[in-house]
Amino acid sequence: MRITREDQIMKKFSRTLTCIFALSTIVSVAIADEDAELVINGELDISTKAAAPADSALDELISGWRFRTNETQALQMDDFDNPSFIFIEQGEDLYAKVDGSEGKSCASCHEDVASFKGLKSSLPRHNASTGKLDTMETLVNNCRTERMGAEPWKWSKGKMTAMTSLISLQSRGMAINVKVDGDAANAYELGKDLYYTRVGQLDMSCANCHEDNYGNMIRADHLSQGQINGFPTYRLKNAKMNSVHARFKGCMKNIRATPFKEGSDEFRALELYVASRGNGLSVESPSVRN
């Protein structure tokens, strides 16, 4: 059969129609049990809801865990079922592994990884000597290049996310409390600007989905507040640990924008701003999301 130009146009047209119908039909989708509480291993209570600070744009802070289906929620409620722990075990090996010209491992200086308790909940933070924001990734790489004499790790690759997951785990259950005043104020303002600036072909800002429409469905997906209290997070879609910046990149691609680079000043500022929107929520790292 010869396919004519008209055929192709008709095909496109009917496909568009199908899309419109799909959007207008109300489909019942399995959404989360809004009243469930997150208790890990039957002993660690995680607050997945917190009162919003007075100046917050949100009525109430709600962790992304509450927006997921019951099955996904259950994965995070038990460390055996949580696939993140495969990567945390890899992180433990890396923590003890000697690397670089100085013959040191992480454990040589920091000893027990439990000494990092409370680090995750306070990051990103301003670094006076570089004038930039420090994130967990920059801290790990600083140690690697300056103290261990080793090659830095890539921002979102397996070794880095395994290590950041292990370190973040130590702060699990603690309330997020990032500083946004003083030296960090400039970065905070930049992050806030980025959050509310419409970009990309779809001309959307972070706020359009995560502030104006959280709780609504975006096709088959349940929009969350975009809280980052659970990062690094295991995603069912790619079966690995995901960094905050990789997630930002994914969001920007979805709205057909050109993403900033991982580790760029823009993403660090955005990480600070988004983290501060969750001040008061518990650290959930390593979380499980779809």
Binding site: D78, F80, F85, I86, E89, Q90
Partner: protein, 106 residues
């Protein structure tokens, strides 16, 4: 060598059917893949699993190359009395990982 994780109840009633979940962090290299130069990557998998309770075998399994990375293995058995559940995984290179869980019968 691999690391193993086991989820087993700490206590059980006599004769109770309990479920044991195990997961080994292992690459399970099938021996079928080729590297960048076209050479076969040698097989390296966990090839056997055994569990004994109080010295008596509960279950043993032979693992084959088609089993995925990080193999998850679950089994049930009835607990006769208090004892140690000893699980052992054997790698192709001959090394083994062992985990012991004590189940107390109240």
């Amino acid at each position: 060598m691999a690391k193993a994780r086991v989820k087993a109840p700490k206590t059980a009633a006599a004769g109770e059917l309990v479920t044991i979940k195990t997961l080994v962090n292992h690459k399970m290299e099938s021996g079928r893949r080729k590297d960048g130069d076209g050479n076969l990557i040698p097989r390296k998998i966990i090839n056997a699993f055994t569990a004994t309770f109080g010295g008596e075998e509960v279950i043993s399994a032979k693992f084959e190359p088609a089993i995925s990375t990080n193999p998850y293995f679950q089994f049930s058995f009835t607990v006769p009395a208090t004892g140690d559940l000893v699980m052992q995984w054997t790698d192709d290179d001959g090394s083994t990982v062992e985990q012991t869980k004590t189940i107390t019968v109240a």
